[in-house]
């Protein structure tokens, strides 16, 4: 049975109007239809955080978010984080702190960190750990990831 719907959404500042299958996740539409392959498919059940994108500025697991729900929303993927060929402050902090190893968890973590810096709030060390806890890194790089996030938040706060 075929069941399609038109949705309009903004991805990385660009407007898209596309027909999606009602059965599709936002992850599937972003990766397979719009070729934003920086959005990674990991566990598919909202546990690993690899598929994290920002929806209206908030990190959400796109694997358990229906594409039809994205109608009218502003989506940010890792492809939309750098501007004019320049890495964002978060990306630069990940590079400086060596927080990237295999890279599979990196897009999601950079997006979560971006939402933290954009929130304008201050975060204690414990709160930073809590806010990045929805991402699994199997290269065991959590210390460096934590350092990168802390660095960019500290720079922002001073």
């Amino acid at each position: 049975m075929e069941n399609y719907e038109n949705i309009s959404m903004e991805v990385n500042g660009k407007a898209y109007s596309i027909e999606v299958d009602i059965r599709e996740s936002l992850l599937e539409v972003l990766r397979n239809r719009l070729q934003f392959t920086g959005v990674k498919q990991g566990c598919s059940v909202g546990e690993c955080g690899a598929c994290t994108v920002l929806i209206d500025g908030l990190p959400v697991d796109s694997c358990i978010y229906l594409a039809v729900w994205a109608d009218g929303k502003k989506i940010t993927t890792i492809e939309g984080v750098s501007k004019d060929g320049e890495l964002s402050k978060v990306q630069q902090a990940f590079v400086d702190e060596g927080a990237v190893q295999c890279g599979f968890c990196t897009p999601g973590l950079v997006l979560t960190a971006t939402s933290l810096t954009d929130s304008g709030r201050e975060y204690s060390d414990e709160e930073i750990k809590r806010e990045i806890s929805g991402h699994l890194c199997r290269c065991t790089g959590y210390n460096k990831i934590f350092n990168a996030v802390k660095k960019v938040l500290d720079d922002k706060q001073h």
Binding site: M1, D21, S25, G46, T52, P59, D61, I64, L66, V68
Partner: protein, 295 residues
């Protein structure tokens, strides 16, 4: 792809109720963090869904003039955790909200979904029980209000009829004023885990004595429960190490802990006894009382 045959996205409660009464097979979907995983795992097939996401205002959190707090069923756990109303008046609910899943889950998962899927491990359930919360439910024949204590019908079952929608969680001022409390979620991991036991305590103290103690447990029986015997025992008792230890022992009596792969019955009962004590101890400290020692 999810096994979805149809998804309705009404933009008002009236339309939603009409759709539900015309098609009783429609399954309500809120944040989707539970239902979509069931579909992924194949335990829910050929789903005909009714999404509440397009209905405006269903996530509002308000404090009415008489101090009654209403939480829209579509309020996310992140929204609850960040709400100044919740943090000021219902700090234990804020504590429970931030213990749910991880940040991305909390940005999608809703309090209404958490209650209506009937999970005994629902992090919000124990705390709402402890605050004597009520649920406002809308049907085609009007609205009704049910105490959350009467809402859970069995494992994964709630007293929600077909063509009914949970619209608000309501907490009256008498449920929270002059209280202090604590939620302890006990799980193997600090994040992204399901509770092995959830303990929520809300209490009032007067002149060194407990005047009102409400203790609720998640994952201690087939449904989230209150510990009536322990609460009765606590009332009027002096706040001391011995009383609080005794309250923990009484709390075990209300439970119907069982063996599961997550934890054994014996271990769960041990946890209830110890964690009720610890939650009470913390609640007393937060209420301006003294630290009475460790257990």
């Amino acid at each position: 792809m999810f096994d979805i045959v149809n998804i309705e996205k009404p933009d008002s409660l009236e339309t939603a109720l009409k759709m539900l009464s015309h098609n009783p097979d429609l399954k309500i979907i809120a944040g989707g963090t539970d239902l979509l995983i069931k579909m992924h795992n194949g335990t829910l097939e050929n789903a005909a869904l009714l999404s509440l996401r397009k209905i405006p205002g269903m996530d509002e959190i308000r404090c009415l003039d008489d101090g009654t707090i209403t939480i829209g069923a579509m309020a996310t756990f992140a929204g609850i955790f960040r709400s100044s109303i919740i943090n000021e008046h219902l700090p234990v609910l804020s504590e429970a909200a931030v213990s749910v899943g991880g940040p991305q889950i909390r940005n999608a998962a809703t309090i209404g979904g958490n209650i209506c899927n009937g999970a005994v491990s629902a992090d919000s359930a124990a705390t709402l029980l402890a605050y004597d919360a009520e649920l406002r439910i809308l049907g085609t024949e009007g609205a009704r209000t049910v105490p959350i204590r009467e809402f859970y019908a069995g494992p994964g079952k709630v007293n929600l009829k077909p063509a009914e929608i949970l619209t608000h969680v309501v907490i009256h001022k008498t449920g929270y004023s002059n209280t202090s409390g604590c939620y302890i979620k006990y799980s193997n991991r600090k994040a992204m885990d399901i509770a092995m036991l959830g303990v929520s305590v809300v209490c009032k103290a007067e002149e060194g004595r407990f005047s009102d103690v409400r203790i609720a447990l998640g994952v201690a029986a087939p449904v989230p429960i209150r510990c009536g015997e322990a609460e009765d025992y606590a009332k009027g008792k002096e706040i001391s190490y011995e009383t609080m230890k005794e309250i923990g022992i009484y709390a075990v009596k209300a439970s119907k802990a069982r063996d599961s792969w997550r934890a054994s019955k014996a271990y769960r009962e041990h946890l209830i006894e110890i964690l009720v004590f610890r939650a009470l101890k913390e609640a007393v400290i937060r209420g301006g009382g003294v630290h009475i020692g460790e257990l």
